[in-house]
Each structure stands twice: as C-alpha cells, then as structure tokens.
C-alpha cells in the first residue's frame, strides 16, 4: 500500500467592507431587493467606464501587510474575458501578472499573491433545488455585481483537510481583526476553493490536481477536501490516474461531481485593462495601510505568552478568536493587577465563552469589568469557584454587578459555622456507605460526601474546609 501525501492549496475570495463597489459608487449591500443597487457601470451598459475604489486598494494593502506580502510599486488591472449570465461586461476586471501583493506567509503557509477584482452578479435558478440542473431559466440580480473582492492564493503548503480548515479559520480571524471584511461564509463574503493533489511521500514533484469550488462553510471545506483526497487515493491505488478537472462537493450526499473538464477550461484572453491606468502604490499609501493595522492574532498570541504568562495553547485559543480576544483584553484592562492574567484567561475561555450563546460574548449582558470583579471575589476567597459560576450565570441572564448578586443571594463563602456543621451532618447521614469507607481510611470516598455538602450549601462551601470537617467528624 502506497503512502500518499495530500498537497492542498487554497484560493480564497474576500468581499471587502467598503462603502462603494470596486469600480462604481453603488453601495455593495447584501440581501436587499434584487437590482436596486446598480448603475450603468456595474450593469455593464454601453458606454460605461470603471474607476477604481481607493479604499479597496487601501484594504488590499492592509491584507498584504498582515500576510507579510511584498507590495507592488505599480499594480495593473487586466480583463479576464468569459461569457456567463453573471458577468455583465463579458469580462471580469481582475489582475494578472502585476497583482497588488506578492509572496507572503501566514503561520507557515506561504501566500502566493493577493489581488483585487470585481465580483459577479447572482443567479437565482428557477428550479426546486435552487441549483443549475433542472432549471429552464435563471433570474439575474446585479446587486452583487461589482462588489470589491480580494483574492488570496496560497502555495500548496497544506497537507490535510483538518489543517486546511484550521488555517482557513486563522485567516478568517486575521481578516476579521483587520476589519477589512465581514468574512461570513454564510453571506458569501468569504468563499473558498481548494486545489488538491496527491503524491507519494518523499516525492518532490506534484501530482495532477483537481479544483474544488464553491464550498460555503468551514465544515464543508473540510469534508469536501477529505472526500476528494479519498477519491484520489482510491483512484491511484487502483492504478488509475487523476484527471485535471473542476469539481463540486455536495455536502448532503457527500459526492463529488464534475463541473468542468480541462478541455473545456476557459481561455481568458487576459490583456491590460485599457480603461484603467496602472495603480501607483506610493510610500504614503503603504504607510497609511500600515498605520491602520491592528494587532494581529499571531502577534496577540505571542504577546499573551510573553507578557501575560499565559500558556501557548490557551493563548492561541484566545487570540484565534477575534471576539474572545477583544473581550479578554477588556477584562485584563479592568482587573486589578494583583490578579494573574492566566486566571482571567481561564475564566474567559472556559466559563464565559461557553455561556455566550449565538450572539457572542461582546453582545451579551456580561460586562468585561463585571467578570474582572467576579474573578477578584473568587481570588480573595469571598466566594467559592462553584458559587462564582452561579454568579456568572446570573450575569449572563441579567447583567449587573457580581458583588451585588453575591450579597442579594447570600452566595458568600461558607467556611465554617452552624450552616456548614449542619450540612456535614446531613451528608454523613445521606451517604452511610461512603462514610464507612472514610472511617476505614479510604479518603477517596470523600467525593460523594463533599458533593452532598456542596448541594446543601449551593456550592458556597469552601472545598478544603469541607474535607477537613468531614475527616474530623469521621475520625481518620
């Protein structure tokens, strides 16, 4: 059995968050009534001419800087000629051999290039499934036509479906942090195609690759790539060859179907766009893009490790989620310096994140300052960790201040006194078998007894004190 290595490259299209389209001043909205945001330019009317959006270039430069790319001093637009109902001009204005950004790198995956182009219109197919097959006609909506896109192309440096998904997630977070795009796969502002081939482990040459298009969720990206790897492996193992083609992955059936074979591959007849002059990328433009860069996930994770003494895995988890990181930074800002950042990190990552719900942490009722206060209360012994979690639930429910909740609901720590004594007695009475084992010297059997005490005290008892008291009572 041959050992095959998967070789994967990604082509990602990102809709840029500008006020106007790439080559005209229509608004690039999503979801409005069809054909209500068009003009002679994006509709491809006779006589209309494109003019490039300065902000799109600026955002493109930001992406290039964030991905460590070289930046062109002069960038040229080219026409990519093809006929399709979603192409109002019969060509897309894209970039060919002088893209805005050249080679770069993100987390060990090399970036080949980043370039700008205009998005196609949307086809609504008049068939039940909404897909092309089985429809007699389609309706074209030109609202999306002309929306600015940045196309990011990687080198084939990825080697598994899971790795591809993970890297794509990091790219998404990076772009989200930059603020250049909504990067929502649902809404189509982030789209991913993959190029996949297999080769024998140790081989340097690349095998024949196929292109997998139109995967519109992270899960489908992973499943689609995985399915294609399996398909190619089966082909090659049985002595057949892989045909260069473009495939579509149907997530419902898990099957791969051919969209286009190599013979039908487009001849795009690229030539420099005569209606647009080359973009001169000046020092001022680069400086402006650099100034606009926020702290990026990789940098953030490194900062968490070096400055806040948070361990690698936790740092990456926090930094890898733009929302989480933003919330965490606010908690750190609000917290007393005496509290260790890694303690705050654990609360944010393990407890708060899980309770956040669909709208996320930043939109929830929990204020970063409130969480900081809560952690302080646990840290100084005012309440137990368990009680803290109860307070946290309340904070998500109704917001407010932890100190107030603690006093209103009597959630202060119980580490002695009548209440605890009574609870311990109740526990021993409730779990006689466990009590016997402890008397016999089996400290492990304390577990269930502690549990009962916790239940009686609504989690407010101090764990250490409870064990001490139980052991005293049971005389061991």
């Amino acid at each position: 059995m041959t050992d095959w290595e998967a070789v994967i490259g990604l082509e990602i299209h990102v809709q840029l968050a500008t006020q106007t389209k790439m080559f005209c001043s229509c608004s690039p909205v999503f979801g409005d009534e069809p054909n209500t945001h068009t003009c002679p330019v994006c509709l491809g009317l006779p006589g209309a001419l494109p003019v490039a959006n300065a902000q799109a270039v600026h955002l493109g430069l930001m992406i290039g800087l964030a991905l460590g790319c070289s930046l062109a001093s002069q960038s040229v637009f080219h026409r990519k000629n093809y006929f399709y109902a979603d192409s109002p001009k019969g060509y897309q204005i894209s970039q060919f051999d002088q893209p805005l950004c050249g080679p770069g790198n993100l987390a060990g995956v090399r970036i080949h290039r980043v370039h700008l182009e205009d998005d196609a219109a949307k086809l609504i197919h008049a068939s039940e499934s909404g897909r092309i097959a089985g429809a007699d006609s389609s309706t074209v909506d030109f609202n999306r036509a002309g929306t600015p896109l940045a196309e990011i192309v990687t080198e084939p440096d990825l080697h598994s479906a899971a790795q591809a998904r993970e890297w794509l997630a990091l790219l998404r977070t990076t772009l989200r942090t930059l603020g250049v795009s909504d990067v929502s796969m649902d809404e189509g502002s982030l789209r991913c195609d993959a190029n996949i081939s297999l080769r024998r482990v140790g081989d340097q040459t690349l095998g024949t690759k196929t292109e997998l298009k139109n995967m519109n969720s992270f899960r489908f990206v992973e499943r689609g790539i995985e399915a294609e790897i399996i398909r190619q492996r089966e082909l090659l193992d049985s002595g057949q060859t892989v045909t260069q083609e473009t495939l579509h992955f149907d997530p419902r059936s898990g099957s791969l179907t051919t969209l286009r074979s190599k013979e039908e591959a487009h001849d795009y007849r690229y030539f420099p766009e005569p209606d647009l002059l080359p973009v001169e990328v000046t020092e001022a433009m680069i400086a402006s893009a650099r100034d606009a860069l926020p702290e990026l996930p990789i940098e953030r994770a490194a900062r968490y490790v070096s400055e806040l003494q948070i361990d690698d895995v936790l740092a990456e988890r926090l930094a890898g989620d733009a929302e989480l990181a933003e919330f965490f930074d606010a908690v750190v800002e609000a917290a007393d310096k005496s509290i260790e950042a890694r303690v705050l990190a654990t609360w944010v990552s393990d407890d708060a994140a899980g309770r956040a719900g669909e709208d996320g942490l930043l939109a929830s009722k929990l204020e970063p300052a409130a969480l900081a206060e809560l952690v302080a209360l646990v840290d100084d012994g005012s309440i137990t960790t368990a009680a803290g979690r109860t307070v946290l639930d309340q904070l998500f429910e109704v917001g407010g201040s932890p100190t107030a909740i603690v006093s209103d609901q009597g959630l202060g720590k119980v580490d002695g006194g009548d209440e605890l004594e009574a609870a311990v007695d109740a526990a021993i009475a409730a779990e006689p078998e466990a009590a016997e084992k402890v008397r016999a010297g089996e400290q492990k059997a304390l577990g269930p007894l502690v549990g009962v005490v916790m239940k009686h005290t609504s989690g407010r008892a101090d764990g250490g004190e409870v064990r001490k008291l139980l052991l005293e009572r049971l005389g061991s």
Binding site: G44, P46, G47, A48, P50, D275, L277
Partner: protein
C-alpha cells in the same frame, strides 16, 4: 444680417445670439428645418419641435449640435449603427454631450455611423449607407460619416464625432469640412459606446477651424467617471493666426508618397507651397515605423473591441434571439444576428489575437510597435512644430467599390492611424478638389498642442479659401 441663420458658421450664430440679434429658439427651429432635408441617410433621429431648450447659457450660444449615434443620450435612441442596439434608449447621457449642452449647444439630431465605429465608408451602418453630398454615388467616409454629411450638406451647424483610427478626419476630408481628433484623454469617454478603448476620442466636425476650436474648447475636462481622461493642460482659444512665420512643418515620406492618389498628391503639394508663402519652413521628417502602424492598429483595435463588445449578449438590453437551447446558444444566435459582417470579422480577429498562445505574437507585439511609433513622433517633434500629410490617400470612392476586400478598406486609413496610436492631436482641413471631389490636409502636433495646430490650420484655411457650397443641400 442674413435672413437665413443656417447659412452662418456656428461661431457667427453664437455671436448674434449673444448680441441679441438672433433668438436661440428661432435658431434651433431653423436648424430643425434643415435637418429634415436629409436625403443622404445621414440622420437617425431629429429633435421634435418642442425640444428646443427653454434657456440657453454659455459660450456656444444655443447653436444646436448633431451627435454621432454612439454617444449615449438619455431617452433618445443610441444605437452605434447596429441592429443589436436598435431602438436602445440609455438611462444616462454621455459626459461630453451633457457638457456641451450645458455650454449652450443643445441636441439637434443623432447621426448614422459605421456599426460600432468600425469602418471607413459608412457602408457598415446597419440602417443603410450614408451618401456623400458632393456625389451621392460615393461614400462620405467613416465611421463618423453621418456627422460629416450633416455639416457638409448644411443639415446641422456642427457635429460631434469619434476618431479611433481616422473616423473624424477621414470623413471630414472626403466631405470637404474640418475635423479634429484631440489628444487622447483630453475629452471624456464616459457614455461613448466603446470600440477600442485606448484609441477612441470624441472630437468636433465643423464648417471651419474657428468653429472647431470653439466647440473643442467646451469639450475638454478631467471627468471623474473616466479614469483615462486627464483634461487639457491649456485653455483652448479661438485661433487668429494669419501667417506661418517661424513654423516648421515636417513631411513624412512614408505617409505622403507611395499610395497617395495623384490628385490628392497635387493638392497636398499646393498646400505646402501656400505654407511656404505664409512663411513656413517645410522639411522632410521621417517616421520610420509608420508603415507598420496599420498592422499594429488592426491588431490592437480588434482585440479591444472583441472584449468591449462581449457585453452585447441579449441579457440586459438590445436584441435577443433565443433558439431555446440554453444560454450559450442564445448568446451565439443573438450576436450572429445582431452584428454585421465587419463587426463579426473584427471580433474574430481580436479574439484570435488575444487567444492562448497567440498573445505575444500579435497583441503583445502590436503594443510594442506602438511604442516605436510614439518614439518616432517624439523625435520628429524635436525638429518640427507639426507634421503634415494628406488626410486620406484618395478622394471619396464609389459605394461598394471596396466592400469585397476588407483589407483594401483598411489600407485607406494609413495616413491617420499613426497619430491615433501615438495619442497625439490631428486636424484635417479641406485644401482643394480632385476629380470634382474634396481633398483633405492633415496637421498633427505633439500631445496637448491643439492651440498650435488650430493656429496653423487657421492660417492655411484663410489662404486656401475652400468653397464648400457645392455640398449644401
């Protein structure tokens, strides 16, 4: 004051309107009456009686304008001479047309043209050929044939045309009027139905040089809707040059010797003699790569047009032919039915020149030849103020005489195409007659030197005193 205001040049009428001696709406009505006299197939649309604008402001004095069909005019058919756009009414107006209307030149009529501006005879118009008012069995030239005829026959006081490889200059020459191709980028292309983007320019066709200067002065602008428009560095003034003392005129052998008809050659030489009499120095001025200009042009222009015309697909506007066999079948049927033979030919040629494996040999090479041609002109202008040539190698030729062989039609552009490739301005003025038909004299200058070439043209025009009354209907 003459009783017939349509016997006046535009500048003269404008002056009378400004002085209050002539009413702008009377002028408009008078010209509408003239437009109705079209028996040459020149006009595609004429304004209605009530279309005269209420108020006219601006230096153009309300003198109405004939506009080539490919300029988008909101609500008015803009067909670029093609069946595929028959009856098409755009939702917007071309920037230059709007600017001229604002300056006081309202829309009088639209003029017929070679389909999508491709042609040198106006025989490629899907709505019928346009006839030369000097001799109706002959062509008026193209592609701005309708505009040239409108002015020559006195159907309109002045007209807007476009020039890609000679489409203003050549019909101006064949019809005995003035035509100016401006510096590329000095006039906005927004709203001009495109043929070849890096070559197309709008320009005036007029009765005399002064009218050309007046109309052009209101056309230049840096239009934010046209990324290739840069406007004009100088403000254009009305020429008053009467002599040519101190002017060096360069004559390129490549564009004035072999291939030029004897009668055209004769008037060209006469004009050179007049220039000397006016004090000019006439010197030889080689343009070594000019003989290759035609080849480069007939690769670059078709390539760009093959792409520009891809939007005519029956989806959003224009004609549609649907055989009921899916999208691609609809495209192919629509475009085959809607485009005429010359347009189909150039689309095919352009598609081939750009296709995989052929780009470097054809389009790529042609763009390099363009560089060499530009350099030739740069070097030439170091030694002379203007370059002069016959505008067209022949006078107006008979209808149908060149349609059998497309190449023979292309060859008639060899004097005008080099200036288009270099993007420099060039004007054609009528300079005599041969076989009873007008000949044209071309004056080309460096980029943005319109004031200079208008001045030289004005001086020569005064000397030549060309009588164009023979064409007036």
């Amino acid at each position: 004051m003459s009783n017939d205001p349509t016997a006046l040049t535009a500048a003269s009428s404008a002056a009378l309107v400004e002085s209050g001696d002539l009413d702008a709406s009377d002028l408009f009505e008078a010209w509408r009456g003239r437009a109705e006299l079209d028996t040459f197939g020149a006009l595609s649309w004429i304004a209605e009686a009530g279309d005269s604008p209420e108020q006219v402001d601006g230096p153009l004095g309300g003198v109405p304008l004939a506009v080539k069909d490919l300029f988008c005019t909101e609500g008015v058919p803009s067909q670029s001479g093609s069946k595929i756009l028959e009856g098409y009414k755009p939702p917007y107006t071309a920037s230059v047309v709007a600017a001229l209307a604002k300056s006081g030149a309202p829309l009088l009529c639209k003029t017929h043209q070679d389909e999508f501006a491709m042609g040198s005879s106006n025989e490629n118009c899907a709505f019928g050929p346009v006839l030369n008012p000097w001799d109706k069995s002959r062509v008026p030239g193209g592609s701005s044939g309708g505009s040239a005829v409108a002015v020559a026959a006195g159907l309109a006081p002045w007209a807007l045309g476009t020039d890609t490889g000679g489409s203003i200059r050549q019909p101006a020459a064949l019809c005995g009027i003035v035509g100016l191709k401006p510096t590329y980028g000095s006039v906005s292309r927004y709203g001009m139905i495109a043929f070849a983007s890096s070559l197309d320019q709008a320009g005036p066709l007029t009765q005399d040089v002064t009218d050309a200067a007046l109309l052009f002065s209101q056309m230049t602008a840096r239009d934010p809707r046209d990324a290739t428009s840069v406007g004009h560095q100088e403000s254009i003034h009305l020429p008053d040059r009467k002599d040519l003392t101190g002017v060096r005129l360069g004559v390129p052998e490549e564009l004035s010797g072999e291939g030029i008809e004897p009668g055209v050659r004769a008037t060209f030489e006469e004009t050179l003699e007049r220039a000397r009499e006016l004090g000019a120095e006439v010197v030889p001025c080689p343009l070594p790569h000019a003989p290759h200009a035609l080849s480069a042009y007939y690769l670059i222009a078709p390539a760009e047009c093959s792409s520009n015309l891809a939007r005519f697909d029956g989806v959003r506007y224009g004609q549609r032919v649907d055989p009921g066999d899916g999208l691609d079948a609809m495209y192919s049927a629509t475009r085959a039915a809607g485009f005429g033979p010359e347009v189909r030919r150039r689309i095919m040629l352009g598609t081939y020149a750009l296709s995989s494996g052929y780009y470097d040999a054809y389009y790529g090479r042609a763009q390099r030849v363009r560089t060499l041609i530009q350099r030739d002109f740069d070097e030439a202008f170091a030694n002379c103020d203007a370059i002069v040539t016959p505008t067209s190698p022949s006078v107006a030729f008979p209808l149908g005489s060149r349609t059998a062989d497309p190449l023979s039609m292309y060859l008639s552009d060899f004097c005008t195409v080099p200036m288009s490739l270099a993007g420099i301005p060039a004007i054609s003025i009528p300079n005599g007659m041969s076989e009873g038909l007008p000949t044209g004299f071309q004056i080309a200058g460096p980029a943005f030197a319109e004031n200079s070439i208008l001045g030289i043209a004005h001086a020569l025009e005064s000397s030549i005193q060309f009588d164009r009354s023979g064409a007036r209907v």
